[in-house]
Symmetry: C2
DNA sequence: GTCTATATAATGATAGAC
DNA sequence: GTCTATCATTATATAGAC
């Protein structure tokens, strides 16, 4: 009897090997290493994907599909984005996807852009709902806040992974999420500054900037 | 009469060209491109630095020295770390250093580790001072808070740069700093959550975790 | 100190047999 | 669909002339 793994066509095996190696070692990894991992020849990669860029694109597409599927599972609980990430980071099942995403955010590219922008949009949506329910303070600029919070969280994970000796981004992300929980909750609850003069000064300054120095 | 640039020995010219190209295009850039930019031959790089790793190390050392010098200048104003970064990001003089640091944080390595850990230590020191002065709330874990705030700020800059179409990390960092100012100030001033139940629940949970599931 | 020329290895791309 | 064999390019490393 054939198992699910045996059923995988060579094309899918190559793609999965590529996702694994791209995620573990970055997109600089050679096609030969991917071929060896998939147990096929170099020529077969070319046959199925045309080029390395074509393979990368197929991987991106697959990851987007896996994200969609994972979200569908996770979002039933109605958790905010950070908790979704936490769930994904704790399930071995999602490790290749997480590795790939971390690498993609490190090296850039269309998939990373799409993923991050989607995370930001989701965060804004959740935040809006939470504001309506009265559990989160309203913001002077909800879009900027969602972008800031999301980039800070994802960026912390990416840099933690990049600096880590541990070659397993999955573990780095877990570590980041674990060590940020207390300070983040504390910051979200009590803030940081004891008075609001800095914010007020900034708001006043932005309303009437000296010269056109807003972005200079 | 000889200008300062003319006085640069070939060794320094190579090193500066490498810092520039590493910063602009990442550490994957070839030695030939560096040789061409510096106006020297491939062999001369080998003569002065032995290998690509040797050149990278020399660049790292130089950047550390530039950071030290820049901090000495900037820290006279007593600004917190974020403001130092803002100042550095706004001065064209520091552009190569900033580019190099962003790349280093993307790709990892000893320099990035050293830089980030130093930033965290500085942040903790500043925060401690600010807490003593009563302008910042005390934290349940000052070290974790400094690490979280610093990694979030640096990480946001790194991911913004990685996702940016703009190939100039300097500009990405400026954009990140600009767009994070309002939401960050707002978050630092008013927090995010309207009540403290989440934090209290977490503190209670951590004091008496079910099983040994603290890190699971 | 600085160069040219070359060695060696690895990459992605290609052609064609089966 | 899958393979082997090879090409062209590029990478770093090396040797030795001037």
């Amino acid at each position: 009897m054939r198992t699910a793994a045996d059923d995988l066509m060579a094309r899918a095996r190559i793609r999965n090997a590529a996702i694994d190696l791209f995620g573990r070692e970055g997109f600089g990894v050679g096609l030969r290493a991917i071929a060896e991992t998939a147990g096929v020849s170099l020529g077969l990669i070319r046959h199925h994907f045309g080029s390395k860029a074509g393979l990368r694109e197929a991987c991106d597409t697959q990851i987007l599909e896996e994200i969609r599927a994972a979200k569908e599972e996770q979002f039933l609980e109605g958790d905010p984005a950070a908790n979704m990430l936490r769930n994904l980071a704790s399930l071995e099942q999602y490790a290749p996807m997480m590795r790939y995403l971390i690498q993609a955010m490190r090296e850039g590219g269309p998939l990373a852009r799409q993923f991050v922008e989607r995370m930001i949009a989701d965060a804004e949506e959740y935040t809006e709902k939470a504001v309506a329910e009265g559990v989160i303070h309203p913001s002077r600029d909800p879009g900027a806040r969602a972008r800031f919070l999301t980039l800070a969280m994802l960026g912390g994970a990416v840099v933690t992974a990049a600096l880590d000796e541990d070659p397993e981004p999955q573990r780095s992300m877990r570590r980041w999420l674990d060590q940020m929980t207390l300070p983040a909750l504390e910051l979200y609850t009590q803030g940081l500054l004891t008075d609001s003069s800095m914010l007020e000064t900034y708001m006043t300054y932005m309303k009437d900037p000296p010269d056109g120095a807003a972005g200079a």
